[in-house]
Symmetry: C2
Subunit: 852 residues, 2 copies
């Protein structure tokens, strides 16, 4: 019956819709023709051109909504930014070299120039970022990960942050410190996308859609990596691995499209600037193609992978240790908090002193910039033959690795060790900076070290068929770079980035093996660098489930949920609302049918409830009430005093208005007190100050008014008023809440008691949930939020390997088969359900039957 | 209060848990020591060894559960399979060449050999697959896509299918037809994973987890592609793009690990077999590294991309057209159905006749196998210089492209055109085969054609700075191959596969640009080949949302949902259950609180309900009832006839037993009739036949019994029985259903009326849902299943470009802002909710307050 009725409704609706659509079309057509007519009428001759332009304009605007235009603009812009930043960094570094080179007569002056320059730049960068937008500090990937997870961190995507990040990054990298560009570029690209999105929303409506914006942010991350390394594929993969938990394959093309376009423009700019002849890789290598490596070299590559895994974990640990040490040492902390720029300056001073080329820097190729050292490390030639460094003709930058007294191996080891702690330290400076590139260089140096050792060990290569294929240490450097950066970031796609950076893919198998081994080792020891920063910064993020921990299938939601849920009932009064708002600090509250049935109806945001409450007790309603009271009072007065001329009545109304004025200000003060109780302290305070101003001004005004218009002061109703308001308020609070104008989410996400932790984690990370209610046949019995989930996961897999289980989890270990279990559980559930006697419309016949 | 009680419970539970755990540990320790003691006692001397082995065994078994062991085994096994298949294919092809070469004296005999060989192989392959496992036909990627989507297609993952697929594929590819290996290998790898999983579940429990199995299947798909092309990265990406909708990044490493290992072993086997000197790419190219292409060549690459996009769409369309043509032509269809092997034989005959080298084949390099043509197409040298093919020294296989009378360009064009329709036709043959490789070769040929034209047009290359860099047509072939295969499969990762196949990444930007353009064109014209097959086969799959269709945000669930939901109520009787089961064919049914309130409590599977019903009316209960009746009857009889000796009573009991026997058979017949009503016709029929047998045998038995034991025939209760049973059944049907032993899903997925189509699609594909209920504040108002969703998506974006909108969607076009809309809608919702008077425990004070 109901179904049929609905169907009829459906048919009616369809007809109605068709009618509406037709009339709509007709209207739009007629409107358009009217505008065109108007144009023709107005302009006469060049009307056709005009019409054409208008049409083109409309077409363009409609097209602007397309994704690909957005992506092209994003790619173009980011390529330009990347290129300009690179250009500025190159100039900065050149300037330092020029200064250092010009002062070669005096070592002290040289040292001063070498040290002062980076200290000034870093200090400026830190200060600038601190003043303009402190959010721009650091790499930004942890924040992007959190944002893509669905958490809103609005201040991270503003124009101020963009400016601070770009300028801060340029200065920081221009100083020559071991800092990277790729993390900040992910953030910059996301900033670009957010700002572009805002700008484009002037044209069309689709830019306001939130889920679309998140898709675009994901593409932007890919663009960031892509235009930084000119590595479109690696960029997309790296950004996916680093920022996403679940990736929608339908968004794949966006990333590829934008990143390719961006990388293309980035490289084309280099060609136009005559830096390059044509588009090639950023760090082109020229390893031989026919026999890239021997099968028997693979163990060496595996060793690089495993060692890089340990190294990566150590790097993450060291980085965290430094941050925590500085935070914990209260004396240091207090001192540094006072002089915020001292810490960056000190660190820079230390690092640049140690790399001073005539000083200790001569033993670790301190002269070279990051880019130069990477180019030399990936070099095709072998540096050390038979352990002696004589035969090697050091040309160009490779000169820096040669030292008259010291072996190349010592130089490499020193370089690795020094750069390792320097990078870990430098990335803690509060400037926009990443850690990828420094780690990449260290990895390359480590790979080179192993490669040179191998070359020294087997001078004629590892023989296979009599043909001599000497070992290529550059290939080892490539493998080491991919492995170490993969271990630090916990990604596999560094392999792809390496191929795109070097323009050669011949070492694919060694690289893949090393990266996978490095990942396996690093992931079992430490979280990734970005997860580590997330933990340090305490961002609201859900940790990953580790590899192969199967206890997640045994932990249930009921073990971790909070049973004492804050809720409001459908027929509660405003007083309950007030109390609930006072006691809890949850963002959303559950709406249940009644406290007895506990049937979940939906969830309401805290702000909505506050709005409801302030609507009920707010200014407008209070004013209305007071106006009413005042009018009544006036009437009473006018009945007491004789009704006289119009003038008199006008004055009376003015009096009323004035009374109202004062009472308003009193009310405002009262409201503020209220608000500050409820929680919104800032709004409360602001309102309070306004009210105070009004209270000061009103008497003055009132005074003047008295002088000029000679009115009787009717103190009586005004003072009465305050008491009356309290009384009125109490009455208002006892009224039942009217949810009519309140936004309710009618389907908050629900879980069942027996949902496993594994599934819960999947659902939370898939849908980007913040909390979920636990229900049992429609009844609210608990709530799980991100916090509980995080606790459960981190509690169950702590880093130190001690496994703590949630309180109730061990009950189920004496395992009966799950299906049987489920049936009995449901059985219990059902009995409870019955014993709780779900309220039901009592159909007499049914209940009779039941009682039989 | 409740909360506190729960907390106390929690504390108690914790203590209890700790106690249990301790005792458990103690027990296990004591048990273990006991077994060890036993061992020591039994064996005396070599006990230590024994203990050691036992411990090792235990350790190994516990370790076998680890993912990485599974993945290594999978990789190893698949590499072996791939290598063996390749080896067999090579032998088959060599055999054909040898036969063809040996008969060069007589053209007719040569033709016969050339044609018969593939016909026999293909016919054998088709017949073998048809007999052993028809599921092995085709590429298998569409099925894997469906399985990974969460749909269970069990018969696709059996051992029979594995055997049929491997042998069928080897024969099909050995015939030299334009068929591919990569699709079947995805399927074979998944088969391997499923079988391995089953095998490994003998060792540990985790292999039984379903979500884990799906994760492993995803990894297996990557292995399939990886070990087919020796392309680990491309394999992972391609398998993700082709099979997944949402990809869990935490599964990334599984794919990379297994695919790398597999590709490594695959290539190592080649080295061990002395085919290669060391591990290199499968189709190694040697393009120059320093100047791979000029910036001004990019437009040509873009042209290749766009043309490939059209070509790819045409290929998919052609393939579908052929299938549909054969299906529609009833005469052909009927004929082909009778002679199943005729179609493959005919197609093979046609294709191999056309490629016969002395015949038409000489104009299209018919002599070359797929692999050989690919190698020649990717060749480093230019074939045509200045339009004349003289300077080109054709060596090795490249000879085949040269024809004394015909230009190289004509050969290439003929090759492309002929291979195009041949491949589209050949992939419709019912043998295990893929389309990737043929398409790849055609793309390479097209790229080569463009490249040769460019080389002829600019013989000295496109000059930049005076240096002459001649154009490399091989690079164009690489680009074309990636673009066309990308267009057909709608993937971007073919770019990566190309790099890994050729071992060079220098053309990364042209390849990426061409692939993206090809994808953009192809995706706007046709579905991917795999989606097309899914549609043809009508697999239960959810189509993708197209690029940039923004109307999905405007269509709501309420527009597409079915309002006439089948449901059962909590207090329904068995008769209702019976009726519901008779009328609908849904897999799951909604359980609501009552027909008035319609509050959704959960969902029950159809099988569960059938079990409930058969339990109530089933054999056991009926037998019990009859036994009771019979005992009663016996009592009655024994009261009538005098109670006599024990012998007598024994005989009476035998009578009873016999009656029961007959009645049972009658009952069975009755039950069958019932079952066949309810829906399970097959089971019903089977039971019916059994019953019929019983009915025939029983009288016989009865007859013999009568002769031997001379019993009185008590016809009376037996015949009465049938009527009594009907009566009893009616009574049983009127009882209220007892859901106690029934598995109920207490949280079926729920949506709200206003959920957009976009979000619904996301949720369905994320969680792999089959259906979802639409509720409004806990009330069931509709249901959306995969079918409706598919209809809505395909209806709203048909391939021909005509957009049909769901009936109610146009109401919302006269757009007010969404937030306002929402508020008013909720308002309405609320009012309806109130007017429907949600049943509530009537607390008098509250209801009084409300009525005031």
């Amino acid at each position: 019956m109901y179904g049929r009725y609905t169907q009829e409704l459906g048919v009616y609706a369809k007809e109605e819709a068709a009618r509406l659509r037709e009339s709509g079309q007709r209207r739009s057509v007629s409107e358009r023709s009217r505008t065109l007519d108007l144009l023709e009428y107005n302009k006469g001759r060049c009307a056709k051109c005009r019409i054409c332009t208008v049409r083109c304009q409309k077409f363009l605007i409609s097209r602007v909504g397309e994704d690909w235009i957005f992506l092209i603009l994003l790619g173009l812009f980011m390529a330009l930014v990347s290129w300009v930043v690179d250009f500025c960094i190159a100039i900065c570094l050149q300037a330092q070299k020029w200064m250092y080179g010009g002062l070669d007569s005096n070592v002290f002056l040289q040292y001063l120039a070498w040290v002062t320059y980076p200290v000034v730049l870093i200090t400026f960068s830190a200060g600038f970022t601190q003043i303009l937008a402190p959010q721009a500090v650091g790499s930004g990937i942890p924040e992007m990960k959190t944002i893509l997870r669905g958490v809103v961190l609005k201040e991270y995507l503003t124009f101020k942050t963009f400016v601070a990040k770009v300028i801060g990054l340029t200065c920081a990298l221009g100083s020559g410190m071991p800092l990277g560009k790729e993390g900040p570029f992910v953030h910059i690209a996301s900033l670009c996308a957010a700002l572009l999105s805002k700008f484009m929303s002037l044209f069309g409506g689709i830019y306001e859609n939130e889920s679309r914006n998140i898709e675009m942010l994901a593409a932007a991350c890919a663009v960031g990596v892509g235009c930084c390394f000119a590595a479109p594929i690696g960029g997309v993969l790296f950004s996916i691995e680093v920022t996403s938990t679940f990736f929608a394959v339908r968004n794949y093309w966006r990333g590829f499209f934008a990143a390719t376009f961006s990388a293309f423009i980035f490289r084309v700019l280099a060609v136009w600037n005559r830096d390059e002849e044509t588009i090639t890789a950023l760090f082109k290598t020229r390893f031989r193609l026919d026999f890239p490596f021997d099968l028997q070299e693979l163990p060496a590559f595996a060793v690089i992978g495993i060692a890089s895994g340990f190294g990566g974990a150590l790097f993450v640990y060291l980085n965290r240790l430094i941050v925590q040490f500085i935070r914990k040492q209260k004396a240091i902390n207090r001192f540094l908090m006072k002089k915020r720029l001292l810490y960056p300056a000190l660190v820079t001073l230390l690092v640049s002193t140690l790399t001073f080329p005539p000083g200790f820097g001569q033993f670790m190729a301190g002269k070279l910039t990051q880019k130069e050292s990477l180019v030399t490390l990936l070099d095709n030639r072998t540096w050390a033959k038979q352990g002696i460094a004589e035969e090697f003709d050091y040309i160009g930058h490779s000169q820096a690795w040669k030292h008259p007294q010291v072996n190349v191996f010592v130089t490499l080891v020193l370089f690795i060790v020094m750069k390792f702690w320097m990078s870990a330290l430098a990335t803690t400076i509060p400037v926009p900076c990443g850690a990828f590139m420094p780690v990449f260089v260290i990895g390359a140096a480590f790979g080179r070290l192993v490669g040179e050792s191998m070359a020294a060990w087997f001078p004629d290569g590892i023989n296979t068929d009599g043909t001599i294929y000497p070992i290529v240490p550059g290939g080892y450097a490539v493998v080491g770079a991919a492995a170490l950066s993969g271990a630090v970031t916990h990604t596999v796609s560094t392999a792809v980035i390496v191929f795109e950076l070097t323009g050669q893919i011949s070492h694919i198998l060694p690289v893949m093996i090393a990266v996978i081994l490095a990942n396996a080792v690093a992931q079992s020891l430490q979280p990734s660098l970005y997860d580590s920063i997330i933990r340090i910064k305490k961002l609201p993020y859900l940790p990953e489930l580790g590899w192969g921990h199967h206890e997640y299938y045994n932990i249930r939601v009921e073990d971790i949920m909070i049973r004492d849920v804050r809720y409001i009932t459908l027929n509660c009064c405003y007083r309950d609302l007030h109390n609930v708002l006072l006691t809890g600090h949850l963002k959303t509250l559950a709406l249940v049918e009644s406290a007895e049935s506990m049937i979940l109806l939906g969830s309401i945001e805290r702000a909505q409830l506050q709005a409801l409450l302030s609507l009920q007790l707010g200014r407008h309603r209070r004013l209305e009430y007071i106006r009413e009271r005042a009018v009544e009072e006036k009437k009473r007065l006018s009945v007491i005093s004789n009704p006289c001329s119009e003038e008199e009545s006008q004055r009376a109304s003015q009096e009323v208005r004035f009374q109202v004025g004062i009472i308003i200000s009193l009310n405002i003060a009262y409201t503020c007190a209220h608000f500050s109780n409820v929680g919104d302290k800032e709004i409360g305070l602001k309102l309070f100050f306004n009210a105070a101003k009004a209270l000061i001004f009103c008497p003055l005004l009132f005074f003047f008014w008295q002088i000029f218009s000679d009115v009787r002061l009717i103190a009586h109703p005004m003072f009465l008023c305050v008491f009356q308001i309290t009384e009125w308020e109490e009455k208002q609070l006892d009224e039942q809440v009217n949810f009519n104008n309140c936004k309710i989410d009618p389907a908050p996400f629900q879980l069942v008691e027996r949902t496993s932790l594994h599934k819960t984690h999947t659902i939370f990370s898939l849908l980007g949930l913040d909390h979920a209610y636990v229900t049992s046949i429609g009844r609210l019995i608990g709530v799980v939020s991100l916090k509980e989930l995080r606790k459960a996961i981190e509690g169950s897999v702590t880093v130190k390997g001690v496994k703590v289980r949630p309180p109730l989890a061990s009950f189920r270990d004496s395992g009966t088969s799950s299906s049987e279990n489920e049936a009995t559980e449901l059985h219990k559930l059902w009995d409870r359900h019955k014993s709780m006697s779900l309220p039901r419309v009592n159909t007499p016949s049914e209940s009779d039957e039941k009682s039989q």
